[in-house]
């Protein structure tokens, strides 16, 4: 947490696939770098982003807007192929390689920077109970909280995002 007169932002993180993990992690870390106090509330499928070992997968099925650059053009994956065994794993590897080549940070790297920047990482207690996660499954330095914990942060924040 930075100085008291700093601007503040809260983000509700509800999605934990590789592609959906980027917007909250990029905005959270960048805001912190610009002197903003940031709280991130990880709930439902966003909660696994706090697990010690990340193994994020791309949203391949039912995602017609995902167009991969290919042979000078762009190709999206028809659902019938995306549903085949190995399609998600294959597309995830392709995406991670492409990101590395283009100098895009990994989610692991952004998360490390978030911890370093003192971003408050709040794990939703209800989701922890629902999906039977324990604190041992999660990285160090997170806090536990519920809807009221989030609301307290949101009410005094300049920016509140739901992603």
């Amino acid at each position: 947490m930075a100085e008291n007169n700093a601007k503040s932002m809260s983000i509700i993180v509800t999605k934990g696939s590789l592609d959906w993990a980027y917007p909250p992690m990029i905005l959270g870390t960048t805001a912190a770098a610009m002197g903003v106090d940031v709280s991130m509330f990880f709930t439902f499928y966003g909660l696994p982003l706090l697990k010690k070992k990340l193994d994020l997968k791309l949203t391949t099925l039912g995602n017609p807007a995902m167009e991969m650059p290919m042979a000078g053009g762009h190709m999206s994956m028809p659902n019938i192929f995306a549903a085949l065994p190995g399609a998600t794993a294959g597309a995830t590897i392709m995406m991670k390689n492409m990101m590395k080549k283009k100098g895009v940070a990994s989610i692991e790297e952004l998360r490390e920077l978030a911890v370093e920047a003192d971003i408050e990482l709040i794990a939703c207690q209800m989701t922890m109970d629902l999906f039977e996660y324990s604190l041992d499954d999660m990285i160090d330095g997170i806090t536990l909280g519920g809807a009221a914990t989030y609301m307290e942060r949101a009410l005094k924040s300049d920016i509140n995002l739901f992603i």
Binding site: I26, A33, G35, K102, V104, A105
Partner: protein, 75 residues
């Protein structure tokens, strides 16, 4: 221009040049100058916005052969 430190952010994409610059600036004394080399075209607008918001001073912003050079004075 003389800089107290240089950050080579070439090949890195948004938001890494900003995040790494912030870390470098943190280690510098007030009044010191950080030189940043980047290849991300988005970094022109982003370093301007970063400096306006954080109160650090963007002394210069140049492009040559696809390499962007920024000088930021820590305030």
């Amino acid at each position: 221009m003389d800089a107290n430190a240089t950050l080579d952010a070439q090949g890195l994409n948004c938001p890494l040049p900003i995040l790494k610059a912030k870390k470098e600036l943190k280690a510098l004394e007030t009044g010191n100058v950080l030189e940043i080399l980047a290849t991300d075209p988005g970094s022109i607008a982003d370093f301007e916005a970063f400096c306006r918001t954080t109160g650090n001073e963007l002394l210069s912003s140049n492009e040559e052969n696809g390499i962007y050079t920024f000088y930021i004075k820590k305030n």
